[in-house]
């Protein structure tokens, strides 16, 4: 493995970890602060000022920015499946932090997701597209 490949690989996995963690905790805090219903269009705005929702939104902004950064060098069709690990961790957050009921079927789905992520990650390099370094277009 060349040093450039090693640099790219570690940068990709580090950035993917930030993407996944921001997604999981962003969604968790969003759900924690969400009321049972949003009766009017205005309530979609006012709900953003609830502390837990605001924290969730902040983390989802981190998720968006870190994901955009990752997409600046990695393929969309690579980024999508790898960051899907977040779905598994969200299910754990729902079960353990929000006391949601998770059926055997749902846990089976979680195992399938892990298998799919492993399949995508095995033997593939992070980048299939090579472009210029960052700068104005």
């Amino acid at each position: 493995m060349t040093s450039e490949t090693a640099r790219l690989r570690s940068k990709t996995w580090g950035c993917a970890a930030i993407v996944v963690l921001a997604q999981v905790f962003g969604n968790f805090f969003l759900k924690r602060g969400m009321p049972a219903e949003l009766p009017s269009p205005l309530s979609y705005i006012t709900v953003l000022f609830r502390p837990w929702v605001a924290l969730g939104v902040s983390l989802l902004i981190v998720w968006l920015l870190s994901r955009m950064t990752l997409l600046s060098w990695a393929d969309l069709s690579y980024v999508l499946p790898v960051t899907s690990l977040g779905y598994v961790l969200v299910a754990f957050a729902g079960r353990w932090l929000l006391d949601e009921r998770i059926t055997g079927t749902r846990w089976a789905g979680i195992l399938l997701i892990v298998a799919g992520v492993a399949l995508v990650g095995s033997g593939s390099t992070p980048q299939t597209w090579r472009g210029k370094s960052g700068g104005p277009s």
Partner: protein, 120 residues
């Protein structure tokens, strides 16, 4: 109402993701992570039409997601939105012209099957 919100999320997210990828490729790889350089990158990206379109589509998706989250469990709302996988992988292949090999197709299909089970 629940399924209308899901359809809105899937459509707007798919469009937003592809526009985001187009915009970031137009910009190029980010190598400098110093705050000043990232601020400069953000300023440039804020004038990128594809990135602007992506943000609008993501905003639509976000408010639809808020509505869905108020109606359903977190462990349902998040996985069900992964219905975007099929649309996005096809768009990656045919719009972004990415090389999507069989391992990635198979991986995405297995992930999608898992996500479908999770959301049952």
């Amino acid at each position: 109402m629940k399924w209308l919100l899901i359809a809105t999320i899937v459509a707007s997210t798919s469009v937003g993701e592809v526009l985001q990828a187009i915009g970031m490729r137009r910009y190029g790889e980010i190598r400098d992570f110093r705050p000043s350089a990232l601020g400069c990158a953000a300023g440039t990206l804020a004038r990128n039409s594809a990135v602007i379109g992506s943000v609008v589509a993501m905003a639509v998706s976000f408010f639809a997601y808020l509505g869905l989250l108020s109606l359903t469990d977190l462990s349902f709302a998040v996985p069900v939105t992964a219905a975007t996988y099929v649309v996005e992988t096809v768009l990656a292949k045919y719009v972004l012209k990415e090389r999507v090999n069989w391992l990635r197709w198979a991986g995405a299909a297995v992930v999608l099957s898992g996500v479908a089970l999770v959301s049952l």
